[in-house]
């Protein structure tokens, strides 16, 4: 297929269709609405299910229902809408049925604004819903990745009977870039041995998230964690840039990783030996490669569009082995490459120390800009 100039949101929607999306349930919210609008047109014309739900609460529970039948199903929203889905998400996770959720993040907390942000990292990655569960979370940094990761999210969700998030943001969602859509996949009727759909001639099936006996629930919990470790073993994905000889490491996902790349390039041009790690799967988190890199760099700069959320996962991975610096732009602000560039330069020239909380110095710098 040839490349087209396509908007991130539309790209995810069309990619989902081509990956065999059979049902979509969603509710409008900026900056995600194009996903819903594209599917409002395309799904009915393909004879597939589309419902503009009455709310995000309803949407996620429609997803839950459809997911129980074993079809490829998805919803999309943006931050406040995803907060409303937390109960439903926990139910889906507890029932172990596959579903894809797109979150095109915006500035928060509260109503905040509609600008791009990354402050739902914790919510998505460590569970905004109750109970222990472990969603797969994929973070695209470009329109092409939005496409590829949407397709992948369906595959992973199904393979592991798990939630898969595409954790995008207003920038990637609203941006147009040349990108190539995958060919249309035929919809294959899968006969999952767990899906419901009328018992026909087989035994009846039940899908539920209840284990009224705590010991059964514990066993279910442990089984799900086992699956999670399997996912962690197989599915970690990330991108490396200029890491071979890097003395300093920048880590950023999605848009901030992308912005950081420009900065890293500029620094390389200036001869600074800095490299970039951009996690694609923010969950499973690429901690092993970070642990490895921490052995050989002198400092790590974590760049995020929030107050330091992935930062914690980096800190867990690294331990207090290498100084970790933080640069974050919360509330809907996108850092410009120049900003990150000067942060890198600061890191390279400063006498770095291993501190307990890199946010403290960062806040101080931000307040005294």
């Amino acid at each position: 297929m040839a490349k087209e100039l396509i908007k991130g949101n539309v790209a995810m929607a069309e990619a989902a269709i081509r990956a065999g999306l059979e049902a979509y349930f969603g509710y409008p919210i900026t900056p995600q609405t194009e996903v819903l609008e594209h599917l409002a047109r395309r799904m009915p014309e393909l004879g597939r299910a589309f419902v503009q739900a009455e709310s995000e609460v309803a949407a996620i529970n429609m997803v839950y229902g459809a997911a129980c039948t074993g079809v490829r199903v998805m919803t999309s929203s943006s931050s406040p809408g995803v907060s409303l889905m937390q109960e439903g998400l926990s139910y889906i996770a507890g029932t172990e049925v596959p579903a894809v959720i797109i979150n095109v993040m915006r500035g928060g907390p509260g109503l905040g604004n509609i600008a791009p942000a990354q402050s739902d990292y914790y919510q998505s990655v460590h569970g905004g819903g109750h109970g222990d569960y472990h969603p797969i979370v994929l973070a695209p940094a470009s329109v092409q990745e939005s496409i590829d990761l949407t397709v992948l999210s369906f595959e992973l969700a199904e393979k592991y009977r798990n939630l898969a998030f595409v954790l995008s943001d207003g920038s990637v969602g609203q941006m147009m870039e040349p990108a190539e859509l995958p060919p249309m996949q035929p919809i294959v009727k899968k006969n999952y041995d767990w899906a419901i759909g009328g018992k026909g001639t087989r035994e009846k099936r039940i899908l539920t998230s209840i284990n009224i006996n705590p010991h059964d629930e514990e066993i279910a919990n442990l089984r799900m964690l086992q699956t999670w470790f399997e996912i962690k073993k197989n599915e970690v994905r990330y991108k490396e840039y200029y890491l071979d000889d890097a003395e300093f490491l920048v880590i950023g996902f999605g848009t901030s990783g992308r912005v950081a790349l420009s900065a890293v390039r500029k620094c390389r041009e200036k001869g600074i030996k800095v490299g970039l790690l951009r996690p694609i799967t923010v969950r499973p988190f690429p901690d092993e490669v970070i642990i490895e890199l921490a052995e050989r760099v002198q400092g790590i700069l974590v760049v995020e569009m929030n107050q330091g959320q992935m930062l914690d996962d980096v800190m867990i991975a690294v331990g207090k082995k290498v100084p970790i610096e933080f640069y974050g732009r919360p509330g809907g602000v996108i850092p410009f490459p120049e900003d990150v560039e000067s942060e890198i330069e600061r890191m390279v020239s400063a006498k770095l120390e291993i501190v307990n909380n890199p946010r403290v110095a960062w806040l101080d710098r931000m307040l005294h800009r």
Partner: protein
Amino acid sequence: MHKEIMIAGYGGQGVLFAGQILAYTAMDIKMQVTWIPSYGPEMRGGTANCTVVISDQEIGSPQVAEPPIAILLNLPSYDKYEPLIKVGGVAVVNASMVDRGAIRTDIRTIFVEASRIAEEIGDTKLMNMVAVGALLAVLPELDIKEVKNALRLHLPSRHHALLPSNYLALERGFDAAVSQGHG
């Protein structure tokens, strides 16, 4: 090569499309490109802007703090963005909707009577293409032929009747800039 272009004006002035046509052109000539609009909570005819980044390598940020190149289609946009343009940059300004001269002396400002020229061609909506044409005079990386090509390839075929006037608008804008000594 790395060009960052901001286009700003009223909603309805074809701001977003002007940016897209530059993006299409860049894509067709196999450059890396991003286009991103400002999207507001108020979808109600306020100002609109978009940013196009064209590069020969992976583009880091689709957003730009200080655009080196800007097309500013009305006075509010000119007022707002003139101060932000990078030193040494260039602004194409729709002189028909701006009643003042340049303040910045450290950038090059190209005043084009884009609305008037579009009116002359017979369709005020072509104002955006006139401005794009003017920009092309100082953006040799994008050949006007390629832009026309992009229009032909990416304008939905039901609008193809409008191609000639679009071409004309581009040319008139280009010429206007050149005639002022730009390009």
